[in-house]
């Protein structure tokens, strides 16, 4: 089986992955305009201000939009289809969308818009397929994943 892609933190995203590694979901927050964004950017994409800072959010949210991938596009996921892909809007930063798989849902059909979800953190990668070994100390490869918590 082809290894699933592992996120490699960079200067802008390091805080996000470090947060995930200790079990905290963060969104980038701009002190200048008060809006949040995701994924983290070097400057606020809404107002251009420098220095957005990671802000811890509760990890609860709702499905903004979802689909079920039925045709593999990446060889590493050929054995995973069908699987959920979704954008989640955090309850405490609803202007933000976070791309995720959806755990705990039947892939027979997409999860409905508005369905409540909660974050959990999965070592390494992959659509609910747990991989035991971390890639390396300090690599920050805990992957935020959202689980359906109810209709």
């Amino acid at each position: 089986m082809t290894a699933r892609p592992r996120p490699v933190p960079d200067a802008v995203s390091a805080a996000y992955w470090a947060g995930a590694d200790r079990g905290a979901l963060t969104v980038a927050h701009c002190d200048a305009c008060g809006r949040a964004h995701h994924p983290p950017e070097p400057a606020c994409p809404r107002c251009g201000a420098d220095g957005p800072r990671p802000r811890v959010v509760s990890g609860r949210g709702t499905v903004f939009a979802a689909c079920v991938v039925r045709q593999a596009f990446d060889a590493a996921f050929a054995d995973a289809v069908p699987y959920h892909l979704a954008l989640v809007a955090p309850d405490d930063a609803p202007e933000v969308r976070i791309l995720t798989n959806l755990l705990g849902a039947d892939p027979a059909e997409p999860v409905a818009v508005g369905t409540p979800v909660a974050v959990e953190f999965e070592p390494a990668t992959g659509v609910g397929a747990r991989v035991d070994a971390r890639v390396g100390e300090g690599d920050g490869v805990a992957l935020p994943q959202f689980r359906v918590v109810g209709p």
Partner: protein
């Protein structure tokens, strides 16, 4: 009189052979389309002083100066190679029109040559094991296939947020085949029913195979020049009445502010602000259909119907079909004519306004609107018969 500083017109259009399979060479395809566009306008290579082309950078097309050599054009006063983050093939014509209006050059050949393999996002790829840059937030979740999952989620979200049904998307697919049956150039000419549409394989549920355009090997070329010069050439000039771009705030296919419409709404607002005509004057609409969601977005963004009103407006689909009140994608579009990646919508609009479309001709078409792409890459043009 357009909003441009100098009136610009389309003087010629041309196509290569367009085919799903078989041997092809991108230089041969490009040369065939460009030569046809020049012959259509009645000009030779010495008359051309600009070339703009759009490509994915995957060996799908020769560069602008590559085409200059292919065609024997003596010198270029303006050229540009546009890559895949713009308003698809129409980007080349938008660029050319601005250069002509600015007086940098006078007669510009634009083309989009595309191969079935390039940008063929349906293929299974083996990506790098380490996901860097934007990929770090996508690839670990199995997000692949270009914008396919994004377009699926837009389809799901649209119906949840604005109402209507997935059958609305099917109307676009069925419409494409109705028109393609009348277009000898089209690759998929068999009729399609809504039942056929719903029976198609789901690629990323709710996105179905027939929501996606049909990759081919082919090229389309358009020759633009000053309206003044065009009036001395072979064809009735088709004047560029307005052109516009739009990206929307937060410009991104997944994370942009307007998830459903991307930049189409601000693009349309700029377009009509510049145009001498309005949405009620449109006789024929050629609207990008790389995915069916895109066509519906443009119909609403351009004000051909209200936002969220497509379901009631399109009704049983006859309105946008042959003989309908507002013909849409009269060539069959990329869903049925084949994926020539945007520029063919302009070529079809020009041929409709010149009245040379035979069985699929929209009677007395005088005003056309052409739109390309979606999301952070939106672009559009209004054309009027001189």
């Amino acid at each position: 009189m357009s909003g441009l500083t100098r009136d610009v017109a389309v003087a010629g259009v041309g196509y290569s052979t367009v085919a799903r399979s078989g041997d092809f060479d991108v230089r041969t395809l490009t040369r065939a389309a460009c030569t046809a566009a020049m012959a259509d306008a009645g000009v030779g290579p010495a008359a051309v002083d600009g070339i703009v082309e759009y490509q994915f950078g995957q060996g799908d097309a020769p560069s602008a100066v590559g085409a200059q050599r292919l065609l024997g054009i003596p010198d270029l006063a303006m050229f540009n190679d546009l890559m895949g983050t713009g308003p698809s093939g129409l980007a080349s014509a938008l660029d050319a029109a601005m250069a002509i209006a600015a007086g940098v050059c006078e007669t510009v050949l634009v083309y989009r040559c595309i191969t079935r393999a390039s940008g063929h996002t349906g293929a299974v790829r083996t990506g790098p094991p380490e996901a860097r840059g934007a990929l770090q937030f996508a690839a670990p979740y199995g997000y692949g296939g270009g914008i396919i999952p994004a377009m699926s989620m837009k389809k799901q979200r649209r119906v949840a947020e604005l109402g209507g049904s997935y059958a609305d998307y099917g109307r676009i697919a069925v419409n494409a085949r109705r028109w393609a049956a009348l277009n000898e150039r089209a690759v998929l000419r068999d009729p399609l029913t809504l039942d056929d549409y719903f029976a198609a394989r789901p690629v990323a549920d709710p996105l179905l195979l027939l929501d996606c355009d049909y990759p081919v090997n082919g090229a389309c070329a358009v020759l633009l020049t000053s309206a003044e010069r065009a009036r001395d050439l072979r064809q009735v000039p088709v004047v560029v009445d307005a052109l516009a771009y739009g990206t929307g705030a937060g410009a991104d296919w997944l994370y942009g502010d307007d998830f459903l419409f991307g930049g189409t709404i601000p693009c349309a607002r700029r377009l009509w602000a510049q145009a001498s005509v309005g949405p009620a004057d449109v006789d024929v609409a050629e609207l990008y259909d790389g995915f069916t969601h895109i066509t519906i977005s443009w119909i609403e963004a351009l004000g051909l119907c209200g936002i969220g009103e497509f379901h009631d407006w399109v009704d049983d689909g006859d309105r946008i079909g042959p003989g309908g009140a507002l013909p849409v994608n009269t060539s069959g579009g990329q869903l049925a004519e084949g994926r020539l990646h945007g520029l063919a919508f302009l070529a079809e609009a020009v041929q409709q306004l010149r009245g040379e479309c035979g069985a699929r001709q929209v009677p007395d078409a005088r005003v056309a609107v052409v739109a390309n792409a979606h999301g952070p890459q939106s672009g559009a043009m209004v054309l009027v018969r001189d």
